[in-house]
């Protein structure tokens, strides 16, 4: 009997452990459930120590074809060409239509931000910051809720990335905290921002310490906020 009981308890604990692992960072705790989640896009334009791949301006290409028969007068080279022989650089365009059928979402007002995307510009080896880069509001009448945050991934460009904890946040309602905290990066468990009640709005200061070796590029990630109760 006791052996059977032990087996049952083992099975229950194993199942609970599997659920906990699979739930990952979207689960705040045993007693709480995820109620809403939002993401704010962070774009960090870095000027690195390497070459800056800033696209060169389009240069008109000119055509100046001269043909001279033997004995005829030499022509004069012309870089600029003339009105009848100048051709501009060819450009080609194509367009695609993007559509969406948006329906109201009553839960959309539960957790929201005043800014869906933040752009920051900086040089490798420096720290850049933006005061109250965005606000996060919990609009609930719940007595006790928990707000958690984290990055969806390391800031990533087309070719490389730098560590997410180099991005720090300072969440406050009136006065910034003395120090900022590095962002947790998925798949690590989200960090607890605050446990509070009813309607609350938080300013989020961002600071990014760009590693010295970061190549020039646009680095993107998402700051994800999840509400539980």
């Amino acid at each position: 009997m006791s052996a059977l009981l032990r087996k049952c308890l083992c099975a229950v604990f194993a199942a609970a452990a599997i659920v906990a692992v699979l739930s990952g960072p979207t689960r705040a705790g045993v007693a709480q459930s995820q109620r809403a989640q939002i993401a704010i896009a962070l774009l960090i334009n870095v000027t690195g120590v390497g070459r800056a791949p800033i696209p060169a301006p389009a240069v008109p290409v000119v055509a100046d074809v001269s043909l001279r028969a033997k004995g005829s007068a030499p022509s004069v080279d012309s870089v600029g060409g003339n009105s009848t022989s100048t051709l501009v650089a060819q450009q080609t365009q194509s367009a695609v239509k993007v559509e969406a059928e948006v329906s109201p979402n009553p839960a959309a007002t539960l957790l929201y931000s005043n800014n869906a995307a933040v752009v920051m510009n900086g040089t490798a080896g420096t720290t850049i910051s933006q005061s109250c880069a965005y606000q996060v509001t919990v609009h609930s009448n719940i007595i006790s809720w928990t707000l958690r945050d984290g990055l969806s991934g390391n800031p990533t460009s087309a070719s490389t990335s730098f560590p997410g904890p180099d991005v720090e946040h300072n969440d406050y309602q009136a006065t910034p905290k003395p120090t900022s905290s590095p962002f947790i990066v998925y798949p690590s468990a989200w960090a607890n921002v605050v446990t509070a009640s009813n309607v609350q709005t938080y300013c989020v200061d961002l600071s990014v310490t760009i590693p010295l070796t970061t190549p020039t590029g646009a680095y993107s990630t998402n700051a994800v906020y999840t509400l539980y109760w």
Binding site: L22, G24, P25, T26, I38, A39, A41, L43, P53, I54, P55, A58, V59, V61, V62, A63, D64, V65, L67, R68, A69, K70, G71, G81, V88, A89, Q90, Q91, T92, Q93, S94, A95, V96, K97, V98, E99, A100, E101, V102, S103, P104, N105, A107, A108, T109, Y112, N115, A116, A117, S152, G153, P155, T156, S157, A158, Y186, P187, A218, S220, T221
Partner: protein, 223 residues
């Protein structure tokens, strides 16, 4: 360019033939010319099986569901029914094939002709709602939280005036914006997913369901 070369060669041949009886000596003729680069852009929306909308989710991804306005290898990038305040990924949104004879490569620009609009008073700010995500020809593993880059509304001249739901617009540039892609190769295949972060007030109980649209215009220019 070939026609020019043919004309030049024919004219040169004729000139040499005519001049031959007048002199027994021979000489060389130096021909030099600049020629415009030839570049071609082919845009294929919904370029692979499995295209469509996926709600932004961590962990196991739901299957893509395209909207009714989309079709394989064409049509629109239609996110279909989405909810305000939610983020979505659209897989296999756009394949851009660029081929050129310019060894210097090309710049690819991609901009919105205007913000999202329903054709009336409702709108969504484009660079706060629509993002492009680097993708692949097949085996796309992006999620709604993958690193994305905003589409901006162009500062160029758009024709026809927006919002216009039926006619693909063109943009005339006085100066070019930052390039989405700056390639040092003359030809390339570029694959993109799209992300849509729907603003929470894009649709409310007072507006009901709102059908938004915009045009993304890609421009390729030889370097």
């Amino acid at each position: 360019m070939r026609a020019w070369i043919g004309s030049c060669v024919a004219a040169l041949t004729a000139a040499l033939a005519l001049s031959a009886p007048a002199s027994a000596s021979t000489g060389t003729v130096k021909l030099s010319w600049y020629t415009t680069a030839i570049i071609k852009l082919t845009l294929t929306p919904n370029y692979a099986n499995g295209f469509g909308t996926v709600k932004a989710t961590f962990g196991t991804q739901p299957p893509p569901v395209p909207g009714p306005g989309s079709c394989l290898d064409g049509c629109a990038v239609d996110f279909g029914a989405v909810e305000a305040g939610i983020g979505y990924l659209y897989k296999y949104a756009a394949h851009l094939n660029v081929s050129s004879n310019d060894a210097s490569g090309f710049n690819l620009y991609g901009e919105g002709a205007a913000n999202f609009s329903d054709g009336g008073s409702n709108s969504m700010t484009l660079n706060q709602s629509l993002f492009w995500v680097p993708s692949v020809a097949s085996g796309d593993t992006n999620t709604g939280y993958s690193a994305g880059y905003a589409f901006n509304v162009t500062s160029g001249a758009v024709n026809p005036a927006q919002p216009e739901p039926n006619i693909p617009p063109t943009i005339t540039y006085g100066s070019y914006p930052s390039a989405l892609i700056s390639s040092s190769n003359p030809s390339a295949d570029i694959y993109q997913d799209y992300e849509l972060k729907v603003p929470m007030l894009a649709a409310t109980s007072s507006t009901g369901t709102v059908n938004y649209y915009c045009w993304i215009v890609y421009t390729v220019v030889p370097k």
